[in-house]
């Protein structure tokens, strides 16, 4: 088990965005988290990555408790994420964006930079070539020197994934990666996610596009109003009456 969430609760004042959620994620799997809008999916991601402090409960990553860690420490530990509304560094080039991802995997500081020492230059070179590899992996290496802001939408989404991969995570969280993509782009995205898993990484995605969810998930977790209402394989979820109710409302029986 790479990730274990125990009775996780996040409250904003009186409103409980997530309530006592329990789940486990197996190493090397692709897990989808689905649910209607406002179900608490993104809040769950924010808690997992430390951007929001959890109110109660525990988060174990590779058996180690990370519940109240700072976001940068969690990233350094091996969890990376993308954002629902794209948050790239708009005024930096595509390559620089991915180089930022390498931050926690490098260590040169202010003084070696001023001196321009050989170790500093070597590390810069490594960061650059690694960043380029991640760009190639995501299929956008042709844009390396373009300002991130000038990228087409679909490529910006890929850039976010490349940047997250550059932090060399073992667990990758993708928040609605297929949102706003056309069917062709969606297919390519699914392929990309499979390749990421092929690298031995575990992926958790939040997604509304059921084709994506049913197509690539090994396991699906359904949230509604902050509570986990079901989990299981795609097949089980498709036939689960609770899930159908949450999505479509209760069936009237005469």
């Amino acid at each position: 088990m790479i990730l274990e969430v125990r009775e996780l609760t996040k409250a904003f004042g009186g409103l409980k965005a997530i309530e006592e959620v329990n789940f486990k994620v197996r190493q090397g799997s692709i897990v989808s988290i689905i649910g209607p809008n406002g179900a608490g999916k993104t809040t769950l991601f924010n808690c997992l990555t430390g951007i929001l402090p959890s109110t109660k409960g525990r988060i174990l990553f590779e058996g180690k408790e990370i519940t109240y860690w700072k976001p940068h420490a969690i990233t350094a530990k091996g969890i990376a994420r993308t954002f629902q509304n794209i948050r790239i560094f708009a005024a930096m080039t595509v390559l620089e964006n991915v180089m930022i991802g390498q931050h926690s995997r490098s260590k040169e500081g202010l003084f070696t930079a001023v001196m321009g020492t050989t170790t500093f230059r070597k590390e810069e070179e490594t960061i650059k070539s690694k960043a380029f590899e991640y760009l190639e992996f995501a299929g956008i290496s042709g844009y390396a020197d373009v300002l991130a802001d000038n990228l087409p939408y679909g490529c910006q989404k890929r850039l976010e994934i490349a940047r997250a991969l550059a932090t060399e995570p073992r667990l990758l969280l993708l928040d609605e990666p297929a949102a706003g993509m056309n069917p062709q782009e969606t297919l390519e995205l699914m392929e990309l996610i499979r390749r990421i898993r092929g690298w031995g990484k575990t992926v958790i995605i939040i997604e509304h596009d059921m084709k994506v969810v049913m197509g690539i998930s090994d396991w699906i977790i359904v949230l509604d109003h902050g509570v986990k209402i079901a989990e299981g394989t795609p097949n089980e979820i498709q036939n689960n009456p609770d899930v159908i109710e949450a999505y479509l409302g209760k069936e009237e029986v005469f």
Binding site: I51, T93, I100, H103, S104, S106, R163
Partner: protein, 354 residues
Amino acid sequence: MKKLIFMFWCALLTLPFMGIRGAAYLFFGIAVSYGFYVALANMFGKIKKPDLPVNMKLLSTALIIFSFALPFLVRDYYTDVAILVCIYILLALGVNIVIGFTGLLHLGFAAFYGIGAYSNALLTTALGLDFWSALILTLILSSLAGFLLAFPSLRLRGDYLAIVTLGFGEIIRLVLNNWDSVTRGPNGISNIPSPVILGFEISSLKYYYYLVLLFMLSAAFIVKRVQRSRTGRAWLAIREDETAAEAMGINTRKYKFMALTFGAFWAGLAGALFASKMHFVSPESFTFMESVFVVCMIILGGLGSVPGVIFGSLILVLLPELLRDFQLYRMLALGAGLVLMMIFRPDGLIRSRQ
């Protein structure tokens, strides 16, 4: 339409000191030359815009050579102005790290400038240290001030940070103004000695200019290098999106501290050089206006761009000197310049990126 507004605006601004006729001439002058430009453009197809970055290296080499030859080419008065330009560039480089790179709107940088100037003044006069050992202590002190003032202010973001730092700037000035027993209050400290290198006193303008120029050039070099390093990238990431930066593994708190400390370091250096050049410091030189002036420099030149900062400081120090005849309208011209900038080149004269 934009052009029309521009012409009208120029005319309106020059109205007070050129009279209605002069303003009208200016208005039509711009209109005619613009018409001429359009006609030319139509005749020869699109007029190619000069490609700036290509010649940048050549240009900067030429400028550096020119700056070394400067004292031999111009009157002493202009060497004096050039020294001031270099000191302001140092200060602006420091502010640029905090505002331009890291995106923290700090409006109290005159405080670090003042701390640098006063510690140099006090260490050399009251304690009788020589310039160089005083300088080292000054740099440590001003960096430390930057570090300590970061504690309370970095909990805040955006506008709130601006207000709080503005307050800090004023507090430091008031302390300098009222701590009579140490700073001698509004009377200031005089008789600050000139720097001495190997028994040679740098008292003439020329030599002092070279000293300041060397400091300035090495500062520009160092800041540029840091900008392109892992640290510089982390700062930029924080400016662009703090939450995303944090999620990418950057300890934002630590890097903000670093930015403020590093920025205060350069401001302290500028202050120390200012003190030993003027041989006199008083709280008047470190008011809120000074902070605003430096922020104007970096906005004018281009936030986050080192050549831009240098250019911006150059213009904003030179312009008031050149406009000496129009004393009253200096601030007006400055304001007008900034407004025009915001309309036509919102990223500054030299953008950090094309």
